[in-house]
Amino acid sequence: MTKHLLFITLTLILLFNCKRKEDTSWDIDVLSPVVKTTLTIDDLVEDSILSINSDNTVDLDYKFSFSPINEKFFLKIPDTIIKTVYGFPFLSPVTLSPGFQFVNDPAENEFDLGDAKINYMEVSTGELNYRIESEIAEVTFYTYTILKTDDGSGNTFTQTISVPAGSRTSPAVVSGTFKFDGYSFDLTGASGNKFNTFESIVLVNIDNAGNPVSVSNLDSIRIQNKLVSLKPAYVRGYLGQTSFTDGPTANNFTIFDQIISGTLDLDSVNIYTELKNYVGAEVQVKMKQVISTNTATGNNVPLTHSSIGNTINLNRAIDNGNSITPSIYKIDYTKANSNIDLVIENLADIMTTHVEASLNPLGNISSGNDFLYFDKVIDADFHINLPLKFIANDLRLRQEIELNIDENSNPVHEALISIYAENGFPFDADVQLYLLDLSNNIIDSIQISGFIASAITDIDNKVVSPINSVLKYAISAKKMNIINENSRIILDIIFNTNSTTHTTIYKDYYMKLKLVTDMNLEINYR
């Protein structure tokens, strides 16, 4: 009796004053549809590469930018230091009155740009770092002006800095930074016929509101200006002769990266490389090699074509003021002029490229009228226009799926899963599931009975009616534990087209899937 009363009291206290120490749980058997979906070609292929033709056939337009020929290969503005010391030519002390300007120093400064001869530059980003040391025993004003500059609103770059009074033993020191972002520079110097040259003036005055100050040849002002990290947005002039190499570079080639085995026989494929030169100068490009690599099979197929290893001349672009018309060079690859079919059917996931290029190979033939917009240089794109008309033979696509579950979040003990498929595509599909360990090694598989049968097709191999199929697979408690521990599975889908002739995929083909589970799971709440 005491025990029971104590039990009641304790449970009531637990009910109303304490938190539950254990979850309430029980097991149930659920037989229910879970999810359904309709897959069309839109779902299977990225929108960005999908192209629908007027007859509802489907093309894949895949573009692969294989050479990072960008602004880093072109003109660089080195950091430029300008140091000046201003002294007084007086052996005996001389008194300078307030407001007296004792420095007025125009100068020309030249960027070291190699053989390039630039007469105009627009700055994207950059800055001027200054440091002034003054031994003048009065406040002075230092004004630095770069002539023939423009901030876009008609203002010349000019900055005035107040420098405190200093002494020979303890000079006043002032330092700081000014931004050049958005300024344009005329680099023709004072005469207007130079290049790489900018003109500046340094002015130094005694403070108007200050006192007369005595100076001699023992006093000086030391000024250091440093133009740092100048990144041009645009330059005009002669860009000079440069050459550069990119590669060999292993580039990800994603169009076939989920295909791990099998063969894909394409009816036709339209493949070309397009080189677009946006630089206002002649460019020579040489594609030294293009190699298709299937890392799953280890098979390498180098592209053979007359363009490989030979020089391609790209004409200069035309600057229209508001736009640029690039020069375009197109290289078409066909079965007749190359081995491009083998390159594609290798189902590569890596494409290795090796490119050389040179700028102004013929020198300054434009009389200093080259131009370069640094945000648009040379595009080199490999285009694949692939009509979805093919023969697939045991074509295995693999996708690794992260389930984001663990023992605590997955309430299912075991399950029998049925997939009801209504297939409107003219190919069969087998499905296989593999379980992974924490190191991504396949350690088990889930047996799936049945396959998704191809739709019924007519004499032209066009779908006339879909076919229903059922796939079933059981996930035992043991296998569920493996999934809970590792949370990753591999889904393989093996495709076989239903004809020996090339099968065309149309936009309106679809596959309806419904996933039904018969599962034992735990209901749990705290």
Binding site: M1, L15, S418
Partner: protein, 404 residues
């Protein structure tokens, strides 16, 4: 003396979380001539017509509900099952000298505070099976889930009232502070599981009322507000009491649905199986459920109506009986009847047989103490539940009354 009384009240409050039950169930022997009175009462009980104590305790306090106890519970359901938990407490201060209204010199006033927490359900055998076994056993047949109800409600009240000097009549008006209401009333819910589970169809007609989902329903959370009335009257050696007659307006983030619809569920529609996210799955799954409107609604309070005979404290043996009902709480009318035995001048014992509320037939025991200005009582509302393994509930009422 005041200190002692205060300490006793405090201990009582600590032990039972200031939970209390209406004192009307407690025998109140004798009448004193006090100047003020403090009352505290608590009721804590749970019960079911088909769930045994092991099942209920695991449901409420945690633990794995195994197949054996589920089977026993299922066997006990005939037409409908019933389950409920009540946690109520009241404290009251009665000024026995003063009156609020000069025109009512025979009435004293009182101030009270109470908290009422109730979770209850009525369910069909099929609903119980579906919830605790799953729907697989209903493959190719209909599970009748309708005419079932689940209500979870909690509110507090602050009461000002009048009580007659002879303690035979009282009136109270309460401000109701609504903390939580989750009400699901399925008038009809026939669920057909198609062969191999390819579809589930549900012929549904039901009402859902949910209070502020952002609130935890904690103490004085003001998800709703309302008005309540209390009344008690002694007449011809009987006492009738009506507690919490009123309503609550739930207007803060409340959601409501009153839908009759035929659902055919053949899976949550997802756009692309290869790119589905848990957010998309959850969003689309919720879209299948009855659409809940964000709008205020009004609910009646779970009014408690009680009727009992009044004990003559001079008699050594005498009969006792009581009827109690609680509306909108899945409550079955409760009856008890038995005997009261006066052990001595200060001590009474009561034994009754009871039926209704949330449990079936059961025995009850009570013990009551009265000494000078102190009265107390303790009742077990389900003695069979304490002693018998297959008992279907437990309950405890406590009462403490001090006057000085």
């Amino acid at each position: 003396m005041i200190k002692i009384y205060s300490s006793l009240l405090f201990v009582n409050s600590l032990l039972f979380g200031m939970s209390a039950f209406s004192q009307d169930s407690i025998i109140i022997p004798g009448n004193k001539l006090p100047s003020m009175r403090f009352e505290a009462s608590t009721e804590l009980n749970y019960g079911s017509t088909n769930l045994n104590n092991e099942f209920i305790q695991k449901l409420l306090f945690g633990g794995k509900i195994g197949t054996d106890i589920k089977d026993k519970a299922l066997d006990k359901i005939n037409n409908k099952g019933r389950f409920g938990v009540e946690v109520n407490y009241d404290i009251k201060y009665v000024n026995l000298k003063d009156t609020l209204f000069e025109k009512l010199p025979n009435y004293n006033y009182y101030i009270g505070f109470g908290s009422y927490n109730n979770i209850s359900a009525t369910y069909t055998k099929d609903l119980f099976s579906t919830v605790f076994y799953g729907n697989k056993e209903f493959e190719n047949q209909s599970a009748i889930l309708g005419r079932s109800s689940f209500i979870s409600t909690k509110f507090e009240k602050i009461t000002v009232g009048l009580v007659s000097k002879d303690n035979k009549t009282s009136y109270g008006v309460s401000l109701i502070i609504g903390d939580r209401i989750n009400s699901y009333n399925f008038r009809k819910a026939d669920m057909f599981t198609h062969p191999e589970g390819t579809n589930i169809t549900l012929d549904y007609d039901g009402t859902v009322k949910l209070s502020d989902g952002n609130s935890t329903g904690s103490f004085m959370s003001f998800s709703g507000a309302g008005l309540g009335l209390d009344y008690s009257k002694e007449l011809l050696n009987h006492k009738i009491e009506i507690t919490n007659f009123g309503f609550t307006i739930w207007s803060k983030n409340s959601r409501y649905s009153n839908t009759a619809k035929q659902y055919d569920f053949d899976g949550v529609e997802i756009d692309n199986l290869l790119k589905v996210t848990s957010d998309e799955l959850e969003f689309n799954a919720k879209a299948i459920l009855p659409q809940l409107e964000k709008k205020p609604f009004v609910t009646l309070l779970p009014t408690i109506i009680s009727f009992r005979n009044i004990i003559d404290e001079k008699k050594e043996f005498q009969p006792t009986y009581r009827i109690r009902y609680k509306i909108l709480s899945n409550y079955f009318p409760y009856f008890n009847a038995g005997l009261v035995y006066k052990v001595n001048q200060h001590f009474w014992l009561k034994g009754t047989a009871a039926y209704g509320g949330y449990s079936g037939i059961r025995a009850e025991l009570g013990a009551y103490f009265d000494y000078k200005y102190f009265r107390a009582g303790i009742e077990s509302q389900n003695v069979t539940g304490i002693f018998m393994r297959e008992g279907n509930g437990n309950g405890l009422r406590l009462y403490l009354n001090t006057t000085f």
